[in-house]
């Protein structure tokens, strides 16, 4: 399990457009639109989309940086990356 690196593979999994890429590059889940199908949870290759027992809609890291600021040892950092370099799409070419 890893923290979300915003590669966006889940964007093409969402049937209701609850997952979108925001202007700052962050992949964002709108929980009001989400219908809790868990397709993004099941298909995330690094286990970054997660689900808590308390509600049906999943959650993920949105790179808000709160943990970076809170870490007393400064062991965490936020790194700027170009979306084009990390963007990934759902496999489909295999097999066929």
């Amino acid at each position: 399990m890893h923290v979300c690196d915003q590669r966006g593979l889940c964007l093409d999994m969402c049937p209701v457009n609850a997952l979108t890429r925001r202007k700052n590059g962050v992949v964002w889940l709108d929980k009001d639109i989400c219908i809790g199908c868990q397709a993004c949870v099941g298909f995330c290759p690094i286990g970054a989309m997660r689900k808590a027992d308390i509600r049906m809609e999943p959650f993920k890291c949105i790179s808000c940086g709160a943990c970076v600021r809170a870490c007393p040892e400064k062991a965490l950092e936020l790194v700027e990356v170009k979306i084009a370099n990390i963007k990934e799409v759902v496999y489909y070419k295999q097999g066929a």
Partner: protein, 599 residues
């Protein structure tokens, strides 16, 4: 074009766009009856009431679902059969006013976490067989109807003018309205009604509407199918899934129903109020992961849908070719799944219900229609699935584009690709033997491979052509056999043996003479030869999992019983055995996929 991560708003299909004066069309509606109902909540998968509509006297009422009914019949086709038992008589035929058209859901229907949980079950007395036929179908209608407040919809009687039935889960109302100005063919009608009944002019609102419709050919043919719509926010068109077998669309049009519309107020992942949502999400996520990791090495459904079967069937002599004369053909590689893969739109969640990551509902977008009334227009073609490709190989059509053409017109005219394809293949073989000829076929040269003639036959059926052959041909293989025999045109035994039908229903697309188990399944099934209950050909001939007579007999007992269970609950069978856990082969009975039976 970038092949993924396209924002929904920016996605384009290049389809021909239509503009209609929807206000004018809607203002022509006359409300024949409208009732308001109390909105309720679904509990553990049941809305606890069914909806009864009678079109002869414009009655609309609710019926309760009792605990005993749940215990005895579970739901889905079980509820459907119970309601039909209560309402029909032994003398009821497909066109009797008391014949019912039922659309039902099961307790698990509407679950979003587990792939393939959006199936509706449709039942009626079939025009082909005059026996009750049931079909399962995807699309949003069933789950939306349940979330709007009803486990089943029961339509009896006949209207005198074209009507639509509207279930508005937002306002809590059900109405019967005349619909004189709407189109009848599905690809236009579904779009008109989806736009008309969406609360707002947004993709999100349109996604909350689902339409059941048929088409012009269903009025003149016994092959009528029901098209269930599911709005695609990326393609911005309502897509469709078919309840194909048995002519249920013919019953719909015989009752003068143009469409049934349902609108849901809101729904989420727990609208079914399951007893244990946490366990459900865990099991569902486990299946998503299995599909993610294994589908590409197993069935490749996510890339090509059920079309992956074509090359397997061809390799094992099971692909029906030239009216089941051959099981394999030198040209077959032209219609293998990679050919359709090139045409399919990629990178879109293609499930026919939310959360189905099996995603077998592939489409070709921006397809340019080659014949008929929509010639030159660009449309979205839903499919083709294996059965449609098999129906075309049966007619010896080996061009993927003609297969798409056949698929598109069958869908929008509201006819079943299987029944139509198998029947036309029979007419073609009769033509080849000289038993039918150009004159007897009203000018159609129905030789094998003549796609133009096959499509022209569909267009003429849709137009209500009065040619003697066209009228009989539209009623399927059984009626054409009788017609040929009445005229004494060919050897009676040859005609009887050539037309692949049983009880009046045409065979679906497998060469059953190769597989005793499949042949048994087709012969023993109550509703006629279809592959819903006993799809054993793969385990029998490809996997060779049931080699002895005893094992085949066992399979003919176990699988129809087990597969019926899916129809009781509103589930799709594909996620059960079209993706198998990695260690399935090590289990004691791999063909039953024990791990998926357990969850």
């Amino acid at each position: 074009m970038v092949e993924g991560q396209i924002a929904v708003e920016e996605y384009k299909t290049e389809n021909t766009e239509h503009t209609w004066d929807l206000k004018k069309i809607q203002s022509a509606h006359k409300i024949l009856k409208k009732i308001l109902y109390k909105k309720g909540q679904v509990t553990k998968g049941y809305a606890d009431r069914t909806l009864y509509v009678n079109l002869s006297n414009n009655e609309i009422s609710e019926k309760p679902v009792t605990d005993e009914m749940k215990k005895k019949f579970t739901g889905g086709r079980g509820f459907g059969l119970k309601l039909m038992w209560d309402s029909c008589k032994p003398s009821t035929r497909w066109d009797s006013p008391e014949n019912e058209l039922l659309i039902t859901t099961g307790p698990l229907c509407g679950t979003t976490q587990y792939a393939g949980s959006g199936k509706s079950l449709c039942l009626s007395v079939s025009p082909s067989t005059n026996i009750i036929c049931d079909c399962n179908v995807g699309g949003f209608f069933g789950p939306y109807m349940k979330f709007a407040g009803f486990d089943a919809l029961e339509i009896q009687g006949k209207a005198t003018k074209d009507v639509i039935v509207v279930i508005d889960g937002e306002k809590g109302s059900v109405s019967i309205e005349t619909a004189p100005l709407e189109e009848t063919n599905t690809h236009l009608l579904a779009e008109q009604l989806t736009r008309m009944y969406a609360s707002e002019d947004t993709e999100k609102s349109r996604q909350k509407v689902s339409v059941v419709s048929s088409g012009l050919a269903a009025e003149h043919s016994f092959w009528g199918c029901l098209n269930f719509s599911f709005y695609d926010i990326r393609r911005k068109v309502p897509r469709i899934k078919q309840a194909g077998r048995g002519g249920l669309g013919t019953v719909l049009r015989d009752k003068k129903i143009k469409a049934v519309v349902v609108k849901v107020e809101r729904f989420d992942g727990v609208s079914n109020h399951p007893a244990d949502p946490v366990a459900l999400a865990k099991v569902g996520t486990k299946l998503h992961k299995e599909i993610r990791d294994l589908d590409r090495y197993q069935c490749n459904m996510r890339a090509v849908g059920t079309g992956h079967l074509v090359e397997i069937m061809d390799a094992y002599d099971l692909l029906p070719t030239e009216n089941y004369r051959f099981g394999s053909f030198p040209k077959a590689s032209k219609i293998y799944s990679p050919k359709f893969y090139e045409l399919f739109t990629k990178i879109i969640p293609d499930g026919c219900w939310y959360g189905c990551t099996m995603a077998c509902s592939k489409t070709v977008d921006g397809y340019t229609v080659m014949t008929g009334p929509y010639k030159g227009q660009k449309v979205t073609v839903d499919g083709p699935e294996y059965e449609t490709i098999g129906a075309c190989s049966n007619m010896s059509l080996w061009d993927p584009l003609w297969i798409l053409e056949f698929n598109f017109y069958c869908d929008t005219y509201g006819i079943d690709t299987i029944s139509a394809g198998t029947s036309i293949a029979f007419y073609m073989e009769m033509y080849e033997y000289g038993i039918l000829n150009k004159e007897r076929c009203d000018g159609l040269e129905l030789c094998f491979g003549n796609a133009d003639a096959a499509l022209e036959l569909l267009h003429r059926i849709a137009r209500g052509d009065s040619g003697e052959f066209i009228i009989v041909a539209a009623k399927g293989a059984r009626r054409v056999k009788d017609w040929i025999n009445q005229h004494g045109w060919g050897d009676k035994h040859l005609v009887e043996d050539t037309g692949m039908e049983s009880k009046g229903l045409e065979f679906s697309e497998y060469v059953t003479k190769e597989s005793l188990a499949m042949q048994g399944g087709y012969g023993l099934t109550l509703k006629g030869p279809q592959h819903d209950e006993a799809w054993l050909i793969f385990m029998d001939m490809v996997n060779n999992a049931i080699p002895t007579f005893q094992m085949k007999a066992e399979a003919l007992h176990y699988f129809p019983m087990w597969r019926t269970w899916f129809g009781l609950n509103g589930l799709c069978k594909l996620p059960w055995n079209d993706v198998e856990p990695a260690d399935n082969a090590q289990t004691s009975e791999p063909s039953k996929v024990p791990e998926h039976v357990q969850n």
